[in-house]
């Protein structure tokens, strides 16, 4: 079943076409990354999916319901970019209010408020006002509100932007833990983060969905990404000497993507032995192509 189905979506701001005939489907349970440069239309797409913006044309269907259908109130949640809770009220009061709007009774609303605040590491701040919190804590509260009553589809726009590494890791863990219970759509500029969490990519550029594919490394050829500590001389030539290598590409300084025949099951061991023989110290060996290379270094 599709969690989200978008067909021929268009949205323009004056002469700028923010979304140009965007069409895609997201299967329920898949964690999807929405990637693109600044001004590509990511936030516009998020805003349309959440009902904040009306599209000029096209259709959006979420969990079998059209946009704005009250049936979605308890199933779709989001972390909108730059949105803040009311600074005059305590976290508990506001999140309880949201839970009540989602149809929970007072007791259940309070219980769920405590649950989501604990999830984002704010269990000691139930009675704090938003105005008393740091930027990172505010962000975590906003993530907490998106988790109230365990919605089925959760859209997070730049969820970890502005968070310290420890809290960003915590948020990533929460997303990973909940990813089998909900369909997540994440927008971020941190490709390594998306690589860890997502198995589905939407790539937007100038309002056009240029890639819409499941991110995997299966096929006749496999890839290995080798990152070295130092830049060796004639590295590409050395790597091409390995058995079953079909192509080697240097994607950046000290980083090589090696394409090899998929039936060679021992290729990684051969590669490590080869590095050892040449006295190359490796930093990282990635089974597959990195998301960054997949998107920006295609030959």
């Amino acid at each position: 079943m599709n969690a989200i189905a978008v067909t021929n979506l268009n949205k323009a701001f004056g002469s700028k076409q923010a979304l140009n005939n965007v069409t895609f489907e997201i299967e329920a349970g898949k964690t999807t990354a929405l990637i693109g440069p600044n001004g590509a239309g990511k936030t516009t797409l998020f805003s349309v999916l959440c009902g904040y913006l009306q599209p000029d044309s096209g259709e959006v269907n979420i969990l079998g319901h059209k946009l704005g259908d009250p049936a979605l109130f308890n199933k779709l949640s989001a972390l909108p970019q730059d949105a803040q809770l009311d600074p005059r009220f305590s976290l508990e009061k506001q999140l309880c209010f949201y839970a009540r709007l989602q149809g929970m009774n007072k007791h259940a609303a309070l219980k769920d408020t405590h649950r989501v605040l604990e999830l984002v590491g704010l269990k000691d701040n139930f009675n704090s006002r938003v105005s008393e919190l740091s930027h990172g804590m505010r962000k975590r509260v906003c993530i907490a509100q998106a988790l109230i009553n365990s919605p089925k589809v959760i859209l997070l726009d730049e969820a970890t932007a502005g968070l310290d590494p420890v809290n960003a890791r915590e948020i990533r863990n929460i997303i990973a833990d909940l990813s089998d219970q909900a369909t997540f759509i994440l927008s971020s500029h941190d490709l390594s983060e998306l690589e860890r969490l997502c198995n589905h990519i939407l790539y937007l550029e100038q309002g056009v969905l240029t890639q819409h594919q499941t991110y995997n490394y299966q096929g006749e050829h496999n890839y290995i990404t080798l990152q070295l500590c130092k830049e060796p001389l004639q590295a590409i030539d050395h790597l091409k000497q390995l058995q079953d290598v079909t192509h080697v590409q240097q994607t950046q300084s000290k980083e090589f993507v090696i394409e090899y025949k998929a039936d060679n099951r021992q290729f990684d061991i051969q590669l490590l032995k080869h590095c050892h023989k040449l006295k190359w110290q490796y930093r990282q060996l990635i089974n597959g192509n990195t998301l960054e290379n997949e998107l920006f270094n295609k030959e």
Binding site: L53, G68, D82, A83, Q84, F89, Y98
Partner: protein, 269 residues
């Protein structure tokens, strides 16, 4: 539209006044102003209105401005309360309801809400919340006036009670379109302050412009029916009031809220 969700939003609005520092400060200022009104204009005017030496003069002056009936009320405190409230509550309503949705919209809080309820529910819930606040404040001041009058003459208490209920309901109806107007201005402006400024310009420049244009094209005068409080002068005397005078604020409220809902449904959050 879900009545449950509208009621949740309305209840939350009440806490804005009674459970936030800003709300409590506004409430304290309101109370101080009304203590002054009760202590000076109301308590000082009553002996003057009831005195045989001055009652004739008072009736002549009141008659000249269409308030003869009020001067005849034995519940003189309520006569003064009515005149002061009739003009102060609409203005107070404009100020107190100047941030129904605009602050939340600018901050992005409406985005959280709109994932949990419809935009119509937010608009109606906030409007009803503000109306409930005004009704509570009107009720509180009329009870204070009733207490003051009962202290002067206990025999007036039963009639005074019914008068307090009647005047409170009438004042709430009068305030209603002012709150609805602010609901609309909140949708089309970018801050509560700008909403107030726009309302002031509407009541001054706007009405001046309509008066000027109506001198050339008479039907333009009908635009005054869009202005909340249009009927205030004709109901001030508490004489035989036309049914239309009480229907008008209700129609205005529905019209402004419908307009606000139409714009809010289409605008980006």
């Amino acid at each position: 539209m879900s009545v449950f969700r509208v009621w949740q939003i309305t209840q939350f609005e009440l806490t804005r006044l009674f459970a936030t520092k800003r709300g409590l400060l506004a409430l304290a200022a309101f109370s101080m102003v009304w203590i002054m009104i009760l202590k000076y204009p109301i308590s000082h005017a009553v002996p003057f209105l009831n005195s045989p030496e001055f009652s004739d003069i008072a009736q002549q002056i009141a008659g000249a401005i269409g308030l003869r009936e009020l001067v005849k009320w034995p519940e003189a405190e309520f006569a003064i309360f009515w005149i002061i409230s009739l003009y102060s509550y609409p203005i107070f309503s404009l100020f107190i309801s100047s941030d129904q949705t605009v602050g939340d919209r600018e901050r992005g809080t409406l985005r959280f809400l709109s994932l949990r309820c419809t935009r119509d529910e937010i608009l109606i819930g906030r409007f009803l919340g503000q109306l409930l606040i005004i009704i509570l404040l009107i009720a509180a001041t009329s009870i204070a006036t009733l207490a003051m009058m009962t202290y002067r003459d206990t025999s007036l208490a039963p009639n005074g009670f019914f008068l307090a209920v009647k005047l409170s309901m009438q004042l709430a109806i009068i305030a209603m379109p002012f709150i609805a107007l602010m609901a609309f201005l909140n949708i089309v402006t970018s801050s509560s302050r700008l909403s107030i400024v726009t309302a002031i310009l509407l009541f001054t420049l706007g009405s001046g412009l309509i008066t000027y244009l109506a001198s050339y094209v008479s039907f333009i005068h009908a635009l005054f029916y869009l202005f909340p409080g249009e009927q205030i002068t004709s109901i001030a005397g508490q004489t035989e009031t036309k049914f239309f005078d009480w229907l008008l604020p209700l129609i205005q409220s529905i019209a402004w809220l419908t307009l606000a809902a139409t714009v809010l449904r289409k605008r980006a959050l």
